[in-house]
């Protein structure tokens, strides 16, 4: 099933979409199984003057994997082997199509795991994690993907391969490549850093009477010098939606539910939980439970990580937003988000990585209702605006893709963008690798086309 370019309407239709609400119309889709096949695909695209785009599991929410019209989709899901695991060096060489959760599952036999754990970790690929510099609840203490990549074998848009690492090259280009959303080429082998599975873990679920109380408690925990491995908050509507599905025992009467996880040696976990309990009670916690077993813990995380999918129980469509604000502005921005949703007559729910101020407001709607998409887009833009005004940034982890591309000017100066465009051109002078993403129109000579109006559904 590899080698060929598939051009039937069914596969093209499916390759044109990802986890976002956008749609593209590619020219073909292929499934290479080796680096050489990826090179062939890239060279073929070059020779025909056709843009190409790398695709993993297609779970992205910012449209980064939505193909430009007439481009070749290079789907890497068949390159899914873990080539080697070096338990002593705590590293592994993997192909880009390996699923994030599969990697941690396989390395757990050595007592190790891959730290970035985005909510889609059971489905998403390591290649996609590299492209988006993915985060996840447990990146609060461990750092995001860029902190966990040791080496990258990359097929450049020219069709050549090269390796980016800290040791063998003059400049360490990993930092430039990770998070470049497929615009700098295609990673075909990735050496990841693995971290030790914690000997002890305590997962606490805390209820608060208001989001404000919860947000203050979060700041206090960090200010106290404790860095939990995860610090997550859910508002009341999403907690109810999730509880109905996972039955994790989340407090249904709380206005905000905080999930705090700490890990380490036994005594530090016990001491840490005690301190956290004291801090949250100072900020008016209405309930406090500690997960006793691994099963209970798994259920809590299943609830948190599949929260966005549970939305369909309420409305058929959602727009899962992603911005970051300073922690101390959390409560303020959240009330602004609620006001924006009310203004546009949309339901909103909030899950967020409270520890690093990464908001995920979820706007819910039924796209069959006339005019609703305009309201959703207006609300989305407004959320970006208030987040930036509070001193925040455009995206915490979903990336810019198509979704936030045209907001880039709200945050960056023309000079910033020009510099980014120059860097992009250094990797991809002809602009054929996932064109027209991230950088807004007019920030460089090669990116002048606009998204066809139909691509926002």
């Amino acid at each position: 099933m590899s080698g060929a370019v598939h051009i039937n309407t069914a596969e093209l239709f499916l390759a044109g979409q990802d986890g976002s609400n956008m749609m593209g119309s590619p020219l073909g889709v292929c499934y290479p199984t080796t680096t050489a096949e990826v090179q062939n695909a890239v060279r073929w695209a070059r020779s025909k003057g056709v843009p190409f785009i790398a695709r993993g599991a297609g779970t992205g929410l910012a449209g980064g994997a939505i193909p430009e019209a007439g481009s070749l989709v290079i789907c890497l899901t068949k390159m899914n082997k873990i080539r080697s695991i070096d338990a002593n060096r705590r590293s592994a060489w993997v192909e880009p199509g390996v699923l994030n959760a599969d990697l941690s599952r396989q390395t757990s036999r050595e007592g190790l795991h891959f730290a970035p754990d985005p909510s889609s970790q059971q489905s998403c690929t390591i290649g996609g994690n590299v492209a988006n510099n993915s985060g996840g609840p447990h990146c609060l203490s461990e750092g995001v993907t860029s902190a966990h990549i040791l080496s990258l074998e990359v097929v450049l848009p020219s069709g050549e391969t090269c390796t980016f690492d800290a040791e063998t090259s003059l400049f360490d280009l990993r930092g430039a490549f990770i998070g470049s959303e497929g615009m700098f080429g295609i990673a075909t082998a990735i050496e990841v850093r693995l971290v030790q599975n914690p000997p002890h873990v305590a997962t606490m679920v805390v209820g608060f009477a208001s989001v404000h109380d919860g947000a203050l408690a979060v700041s206090a925990i960090i200010a106290h010098g404790i860095i939990p491995s995860a610090l997550e908050m859910m508002d009341a509507p999403i907690t109810r939606a999730v509880e109905e599905y996972v039955h994790a025992g989340f407090p249904l009467d709380a206005a905000a539910t905080l999930i705090v996880e700490i890990d380490g040696l036994e005594y530090s976990v016990i001491d840490g939980s005690r301190q956290i309990r004291e801090i949250v009670s100072l900020f008016g916690a209405t309930s406090f439970q500690v997960a006793e077993t691994a099963v209970e813990r798994a259920r809590i995380w299943k609830g948190r990580k599949t929260a966005f999918g549970a939305i369909a129980r309420i409305q058929p469509n959602y727009y899962l937003h992603d911005t970051v604000v300073p922690r101390k502005k959390l409560a303020e921005v959240l009330s602004q988000v609620t006001a924006i949703a009310t203004q546009e007559q949309l339901q909103v729910m909030n899950v967020f990585h409270a520890g690093d101020g990464n908001l995920h407001p979820i706007l819910m709607f039924d796209k069959r209702v006339a005019g609703v998409m305009d309201r959703v887009h207006r609300a989305g833009a407004e959320i970006v605006r208030v987040s930036l005004e509070a001193g925040g940034v455009l995206s915490g982890e979903h990336g810019i893709g198509l979704e936030k591309r045209d907001f880039m000017r709200w945050m960056f100066t023309e000079n910033d963008l020009l510099f980014q465009q120059k860097l992009r051109s250094a990797f991809d002078p002809d602009g054929i690798s996932n064109p027209h993403k991230v950088l807004p129109r007019g920030s460089g000579c090669s990116d002048t086309a606009s998204i066809p109006p139909g691509s926002w559904i």
Binding site: F13, Y31, T59, T306, A312, R313, N317
Partner: protein, 390 residues
């Protein structure tokens, strides 16, 4: 703009709308797992069905192939945070596809005709067994070694009227795995239950037909199953059949899978069984794990008599899927290959000769796994438990 499509009108629009395209089902789909292609995933299939229904896409051969290659293991349903009722979407689609192509499905129709006509099934079983001795049955038919003569079910003592259950004997289970019926009766007797054999009067339950998309035939078969006035519990030792019979008898009888029934008597079984200090790997039939939600029960039951070894593959399908391995051999073999690789990995990771058995509580999985190149004994959990009676 949509044009009206004559296809898939029986699929409920609300069911389709529940899917939000998040992709969390992907790793739980065995056909996506072995191909990595969206067209072989639940999300992809739902998208295609929606487009065809709305008239945005033709019912091309690729679309039909995508839908034909769905095993309907339902692994995607428990994984779905949105609660998509995938079976409501795929079942009417399978039915419609079969209605549209009568001739191509003749071999499948013949096979399904045989299983629901027990005398014919027994006759063919005898013929196959002779050919198997002569080594004249092509390997690609994937038929496990079948018995020439069926074991006789003995007359068991009637222990008590209060503790009476009906054992549903079925079709393939009765023709190929009568030893499992025998073991089931022995275990039930040991627990103090009298067993009434449903026998040929009940015949086949129609689960295979329903699963393959022959809804009308299935309904006819299900309609012919007598509803006895006796309100005894019906015990079924084939996971696919117990899932189906629960629906058929939902208004009149309690139907329990044998694992479910035994689990209710686990404290008695602790007294009746000895621990054999042998290792067993559990292969979970989809219709037990995903459809009926019975999973840990089997682990605990076998745990009384064995050291249970779990597979680490999310309970993915083995590829059998009722008649799926017959109608889609290429995909079924790929899916089975993944299962066998996992079984092999687990065996090699512990000491290789300490694992004696793989257990599976469904005849389809038993026969499909047995007909592979795997070099380990594959048994129904009931057989393993019966052998462990004190």
């Amino acid at each position: 703009m949509s044009i009206s499509s004559p296809h898939f009108q029986f699929v409920n629009e609300e069911d389709l709308n529940t899917c939000v395209n998040c992709g969390l089902c992907l790793p739980h789909c065995p056909t996506y797992r072995v191909t990595g292609e969206d067209i072989y995933s639940p999300r992809g299939r739902i998208n295609l069905i929606r487009s065809v229904k709305h008239g945005d896409m033709e019912l091309t051969k690729e679309v039909v192939n995508s839908l034909d290659t769905c095993i309907q293991c339902m692994g995607c349903e428990p994984a779905c945070p949105s609660g998509v009722q995938y079976h409501n979407i795929i079942s009417p689609v399978k039915t419609e596809i079969h209605q549209r192509r009568y001739w191509r499905d003749i071999p499948l129709r013949f096979g399904l005709y045989v299983v629901s006509h027990l005398p014919l099934l027994r006759l063919l079983t005898r013929i196959i067994s002779v050919f198997q001795v002569l080594k004249a049955v092509p390997k690609r038919l994937q038929i496990p070694r079948v018995p020439f003569r069926r074991q006789q079910l003995l007359n068991y003592p009637h222990l008590s009227r209060e503790k009476e259950v009906i054992l549903f004997t079925g079709c393939v289970m009765d023709a190929w795995y009568r030893n499992v019926h025998e073991d089931t009766i022995t275990l039930l007797n040991a627990l103090g239950y009298s067993v009434v054999i449903s026998g040929d009067e009940y015949g086949c339950c129609g689960a295979l037909h329903e699963h393959a998309g022959f809804t009308k035939t299935a309904e006819k078969i299900q309609g012919n199953i007598p509803r006895s006035t006796d309100n005894a519990t019906i015990i079924v030792n084939s996971a696919g059949c117990s899932a189906s019979l629960k629906k058929t008898f939902k208004d009149s009888h309690e139907v329990l899978d044998i694992n479910e029934f035994l689990y209710r008597h686990i404290s008695d079984l602790h007294k009746l069984l000895i621990h054999r200090k042998e290792k067993v790997i559990i292969q979970e039939p989809c219709h037990l794990r995903h459809v009926q939600g019975i999973s840990l029960e089997v682990t605990e039951l076998l745990g009384i008599a064995f050291d249970v070894v779990q597979l680490d593959d999310d309970g993915l399908c083995c590829g059998a899927g009722g008649s799926f391995s017959f109608s889609q051999p290429e995909m079924a073999n790929a899916v089975r290959g993944r299962k066998i690789a996992e079984i092999t990995r687990v065996i090699e990771s512990i000491s290789p000769d300490s694992v004696r058995y793989v257990s599976s509580a469904n005849p389809g999985c038993l026969s499909f796994l047995s007909s592979s190149a795997i070099n380990i004994e594959i048994q129904h959990p009931v057989t393993l438990l019966k052998q462990s009676l004190r």
